[in-house]
Amino acid sequence: MKNKEIPKGLRDFLPEDVKARRKMEEKALKLFRSYGYEEVSTPTFEYLEVIEARTGRNSWEELYLFIDREGRILSLRPEMTVAIARGAATHLREAVFPQRLCYIANVFRHVQPQKAQYREFWQMGIELLGASGARADAEVINIAVETLRTMGLDNFKISLNQIAIFNSLLDDSGLEEEEKRLVRRLVENKDLVELGRVLNNAKIEDDLKEIIAKLPVLHGGIEVLDRLGPVEQNRRAAQAVAELGKVYEDLKAYGVNEHIVIDMGVLRGLDYYTGIVFEGYSSELGYGLLGGGRYDNLLQQYGFPCPATGFAIGMDRLALVLKEPDEEPVRLLVGGTNWELMVEKARELREQGYIVETDVEQCTREELAAKAATKGNCRVVFIE
């Protein structure tokens, strides 16, 4: 017998699973299109040099790499943002901006397989290219909220941050380079105990220590910006705080702020983010559902300076929190003794919009009834 294993962390999708996924795709695409986003598709694998623009936590270890016959290193795509940035720098140089693009794609990461974490998984998302400023961020964040709402979720939060607050404070902290790297790693690993210890021993102002230690757990409504403490001395950090406030204000017009919290612990772990970043969580799942943010310097790496912002939703995780699927449509099973009449009847019924299976095994009425009983909402039409 042939081996019938499949590689670790991969899955077969049976009809029920695919149906659930298609339903998510249809709803999301409809929403994205209604905001003017157009669907694009990019290659499943790319040259490693292209993917390399995606640096940050574990980004290298997660890649599936292989070599083509010309000896060049290829990588399965670990996400879509980098591919779209690369594609835009090639095809959209002459375009009128902003450009609104969306995608649905399978992506590949060599991670430890576990609940809600697979090595091939599905993402859908949008990228708003060529627009800087708070309103562009607000639009993208609003669409993230709308997407989750469209799926029927109500119990979710979007955590919002501006990473330049943390980055500027750390850059200008006066810490040694080695200490900065350590602080960044501890914040990314969420090890607040060790972070507190490292900051305690650092030779910087107490005010600054306090702010950096507090940032990863600063969480709440817009009023948390007032609890931030004295960041005014740091011009870039103060600007970032103001920008965060502006995006929050601009979101109010959409009426989605009940889902928005300010959360300085959201850093996303990828180096290409430059400003506003956000993540979405449902209280029913211990893992994040979506993530995104502004990446104004990424396209420049492909020779085309252009501001951009976007987000991606993990569809496999979303599927875990969605309620029961809608009711099954009626299926008809057409059987009988006269093949021409059966085919004719089936065609008629399909034209009326039914899902129709035609018996190809010359079953009796009783046999068909038994088969129909094994399917959801299925009835027999038997032609004598």
Binding site: N189, V261, D263, S282, S283, L285, G286, Y287
Partner: protein, 219 residues
């Protein structure tokens, strides 16, 4: 339950001081014991549920969101490397990861142990430590009685967790160096930390205060 907090607690040595901590933090602990067949304790009126589990399972429960919070040793956290928030150093359950060798080797220098065999229950910690020293060793994962490994010739040295060092002495082993110190920590699922922030944040504050005063004095 929307706003119920589930906390994973360790069986064994840590359970007693953990229960003292919970009481000091104003959380219920009546009847929580590892001796019953019951491994889940629910206090509906407080909106609290405890899971009593093996220490090594606590980070897994928390990472997967089966528990919102966990109380577990740094030694377990560092070996498991799960994606969890490490919120408070609770101070109790102090112990250390050490490299230990048979007494006959007590004057050996660490770097002379390159390419030797190391028995341990903590392969990640051991591997990472020797690599950080620029060394390569053969790590042999055992599940218990690590201190026997050098005696019966399974390994040349060990990496183990010690609190007093008594077990090492009884088996004629001596500490060569300490890798890191460990105490008990409060950990949180990253999503719970955000979706249940209003319940978790005050608990963090209280536990920080208690830890500063020293948990031993609380009972």
């Amino acid at each position: 339950m929307e706003n119920e907090l589930t906390i994973a607690l360790c069986k064994g040595n840590l359970l007693k001081p953990t229960l003292v901590l919970l009481a000091a933090a104003g959380l219920p602990n009546d009847g929580v014991t590892e001796d019953s067949r019951n491994l889940v304790f629910t206090y509906a009126e407080d909106g609290i549920r405890y899971l009593i589990c093996r220490p090594t399972d606590v980070p897994t429960y928390v990472e997967q969101g089966a528990a919102d919070l966990g109380i577990v040793g740094k030694d377990v956290i560092v070996e498991q490397q799960k994606d969890v928030f490490e919120l408070v150093d609770l101070g109790f359950g102090a112990c250390r990861f050490v490299v230990a060798v048979p007494e006959t080797l007590k004057d050996v220098r660490l770097k002379d142990l390159n390419y030797r065999r190391v028995a341990t229950k903590f392969p990640r910690v051991a591997e990472a430590f020797f690599r950080s020293q620029g060394m390569q060793v053969e790590v042999i994962k055992l599940h218990g009685n690590i201190e026997l490994a050098p005696i019966i010739g399974v390994a040349d040295l060990i990496v183990d967790l010690v609190s007093t060092g008594k077990t090492l002495r009884e088996n004629n082993l001596v500490e060569l160096t300490t890798i890191m110190a460990s105490t008990t920590r409060l950990i949180s699922n990253p999503v719970s930390f955000r979706t249940k922030f209003d319940r978790i944040e005050p608990l963090v504050q209280v536990m920080q205060q208690i830890a500063k005063g020293g948990i031993d004095r609380a009972d």
